[in-house]
Amino acid sequence: MSSVQAFVAGVWEFVVGDDWRTALGVVLALALTALLAAASVSAWWVMPPAVVGLLALSIRRAARESSRRG
């Protein structure tokens, strides 16, 4: 692995961590909030259920992986 690849992998690991789906979900939830706000629609309600849902899904995936490993 070249030093550039190692650096990119390090940044990815540092920012995104071991569950990229959660990071993607955060980006999508913020994008939806921005879209609604730009359309002058109340948008504050998007993030709370998104955050709780993303956390629950992430834990569920990790628990399943853990039980598959035994």
Partner: protein, 264 residues
């Protein structure tokens, strides 16, 4: 001090204390086994590097337009916070090994003993391991200091909270002369996860253009809301793990009974 500033100081203090406990274990291991002066040189060099990162990136971050800063910082804090919360919940349910400082200390001490002969004077191994340990553990804290602090234009307050945490942990380490194994690391990580997720959600949504009902006062509902949701998830996962373990026990008991009947 406003509620948001107290949240900033508490979050940074707890996050920094947790990481400092982990770094302290590494420094203690190489310091006691190899060379204290070289280990402390590594700590000093890493501290200077972390301070340089904060000093270099802080002004750049605070120069960003406030909405862009909030959505970037909010998103980052939220991703960090959800990672911390997820790990803390999995550890509390026994699905992920808890950080055991005594075990880490033993492993680091053994590695330091077998890492080649110790020379008089400067010990490169002790310096490098200390430097890497402090830098890697401190990097996430440096980003929390930067992002949290920049968003409220209170980087000095965030840095002071981080510095205080390091002093407290170092003093406790000197007093104990041993790894701080009894610090409730997982509970502290859980608390940091709740704070980062809450503030990340709040600022991220604000930066994206949403207006929270009640403005800053919405944090008084967001923080407890995230806390309750996280506790409920931890409880649910723990119950599911306990139920699965009980089922396995019953199945193993039934199988043993069947085998005993067949052999009789």
């Amino acid at each position: 001090m406003s509620g948001a500033e107290i949240g900033l100081a508490v979050s940074v203090f707890l996050a920094c204390a947790v990481e400092a406990v982990e770094a302290l274990t590494i420094v203690l291991a190489v310091g006691t086994t190899r060379s204290w002066s070289s280990a402390m040189s590594g700590v000093g060099a890493a501290t200077v590097a972390l301070a340089a990162i904060v000093a270099a990136l802080g002004p750049a971050l605070t120069a960003l337009p406030i909405d862009l800063l909030r959505v970037l910082v909010g998103g980052l804090l939220l991703v960090f916070g959800l990672q911390w919360l997820r790990k803390a919940i999995l550890r509390s349910a026994g699905l992920k090994a808890k950080h055991d400082e005594l075990q880490t200390f033993r492993e680091e001490t053994e590695a330091a003993r077998t890492a080649g002969e110790r020379r008089a004077g400067f010990d490169g191994y002790a310096f490098t391991i200390s430097f890497k340990g402090v830098l890697l553990e401190g990097l996430e804290v440096a980003f929390i200091v930067l992002t949290f602090g920049a968003n409220q234009h209170r980087i000095p307050l965030a840095a002071a909270a981080a510095g205080l945490a390091v002093l407290v942990v170092a003093a406790a380490g000197v007093a104990a002369r041993a790894p701080l194994a009894r610090v409730p690391e997982n509970t502290m990580k859980f608390a940091v996860g709740v704070m980062l997720s809450s503030f990340g959600m709040f600022w991220g949504a604000e930066g994206a253009g949403a207006a929270w009902p009640g403005g800053d006062a919405a944090l008084l509902a967001i923080v407890p809301g995230v806390l309750v949701a996280a506790i409920a998830m931890a409880w649910t996962v723990r119950r599911a793990v306990d139920a699965a373990a009980a089922e396995e026990l019953v199945a193993a008991g039934a199988q043993a009974g069947e085998e005993a009947t067949v052999s009789a």
